[in-house]
Subunit: 357 residues, 2 copies
Amino acid sequence: MKLQNDTFIRALLREPTEYTPVWLMRQAGRYLPEYKRTRAKAGSFIALCKDADLAAEVALQPLVRFQLDAAIVFSDILTVPDAMGLGLYFAEGEGPKFERPLRDEAAIRRLAVPDPDSDLRYVLDAVSRTRSALANSIPLIGFSGSPYTLACYMIEGEGRTDFASVKKMLYQRPDLLHRILQVNASAVTAYLNAQVEAGAQALMIFDTWGGMLSDRAFATFSLAYTQQVIEGLKRHHAGARIPSIVFTKGGGGWLDKIAAIGSDAVGLDWTVDLRAARQRVGDRVCLQGNLDPAVLLTDTEAVISEVSAVLAAYGTGAGHVFNLGHGISQHTPPENVAALVAAVRDRSRSYHKEALG
Amino acid sequence: MKLQNDTFIRALLREPTEYTPVWLMRQAGRYLPEYKRTRAKAGSFIALCKDADLAAEVALQPLVRFQLDAAIVFSDILTVPDAMGLGLYFAEGEGPKFERPLRDEAAIRRLAVPDPDSDLRYVLDAVSRTRSALANSIPLIGFSGSPYTLACYMIEGEGRTDFASVKKMLYQRPDLLHRILQVNASAVTAYLNAQVEAGAQALMIFDTWGGMLSDRAFATFSLAYTQQVIEGLKRHHAGARIPSIVFTKGGGGWLDKIAAIGSDAVGLDWTVDLRAARQRVGDRVCLQGNLDPAVLLTDTEAVISEVSAVLAAYGTGAGHVFNLGHGISQHTPPENVAALVAAVRDRSRSYHKEALG
């Protein structure tokens, strides 16, 4: 039952490691030809998510090519509102959408917390199938969108540049937005805990749109509900500590606040200076990030140089998980990912020598 | 020659005022029916910019409705690359585009600094016509995009969500990007100084896309060239001090660095806590901002409440110019703008009592 490689888990808990662990947001995805083949076999992204065997297959694909320190369940951040009956779908070449967004107060009043064991069974099956396929080689990450990010899509029906309907509700009917967020927080908590029961060994909350809020609104409508989720998560399961990561894209300005809600790690996008961020949070949390994903569109020389800069910015000692500052682009050449992963493993060792004596 | 209302200029210089001055980014624009009529008369946005009489007409339209403390020249942030021969155009319902973006090294080597007096005459005509129409009632702001923001459009040919081509050049051929930025910095400096000669009484640099850069890249490729512009600007003209404002959308995390490049004021988007920002910059610069423009989509009650929160966040004393954190939405009801402007004028007085003794 013991993990062969628990470097990722130890780094999240700020324990000493031999090197800086690395995984990449969206590491199982369209930049890999083998992913495209499996997705074609499944028929659609959603069908792929709902077939536990195929979901496990794509989650493991990047591990064949690259020496990664964590796998992540192949799923979507919006499964919870789908389970609430909103009807998640993906139009070809577009982002996620809902067939039945929340258009009136009655729909908001009707919202109920889904039962993960029945309504999100397919995700739990994907978790346990992937966990079992990993055979305790590296840990498996379970995840969800944050309560606020779910609400954005539930209200607008799709991604927006301004989220005007969400903002209108926030400023004019905050009571309705709080009602949605309360249901979402309970639902996300139950869902993440169910993923732990099914085999997830770490948890991540993606707050993709919290960064579009004003400072005050972020604290009230995004962070408070993410905190509620964090406080409700199982911290131990089957004798193991289950660490949590919170990632707010565009949230660098609120790092101190985010670091104070009780998660073990905070994800950082590429606009943040990792050196300054570490000084700000001190020993409170692990930091995950933060290479500009556009670097992966260049060449191996540039990739290695920028990887080195990120490692140097964090500096010596424990508490850093290497990642991108956002999901990997579908236009990324896989050889650049290989160069990144090898460079992290190789070049990070010198930053950990002292820690291990 | 003396301004009847120089509250805006004094606030930018951190001198005492009786109330907090207010203007709004894109205050002359599509949310006003009279603007739409004038634009229809002109035929297109560009034709409107190029007709000095009509440009002055639309710049003055919001002043009839609202008690604003500054006017801004009606123009575009991308006039400089257009004058370099790249061919600015606007497809209906889309953002700005260039007919001839920089596609190869030869095109980059050929780039030359345009002569504002000949190549951008139409903007200078709009400046002097608008200044004269204002009849020294309130000051007139001249502006340009930042060297980096111009480069983004010059390389991509249009706005993007990821600016992959710009990023590729930045990481693989930084020499080429530096060449473009050097030409842009010289061109923007000459252009802004020409606007001062033509009658502009304050200057603003819009760094719309600098916020998409990594921390290190922002300092090197955006801020360094904005600083070069600031250092080359005339600080006095015709006996008057010409203050400057720098606004980097998404740049809140770099406030200390931006406040150190020599501009009189720094614009802030709505994600920034104005109270914390003021503590960070101390007495070094004036702060301009930072209401969430989405607030204007709601109702007068919410507008007044959020205006009050922004005023309270800045607190007592000099050095605040009220504005939105981004341009006004075309879907804004004009009555909400009226409520905003009246609320700022009315409710800010108590924050300035002490300063005036």
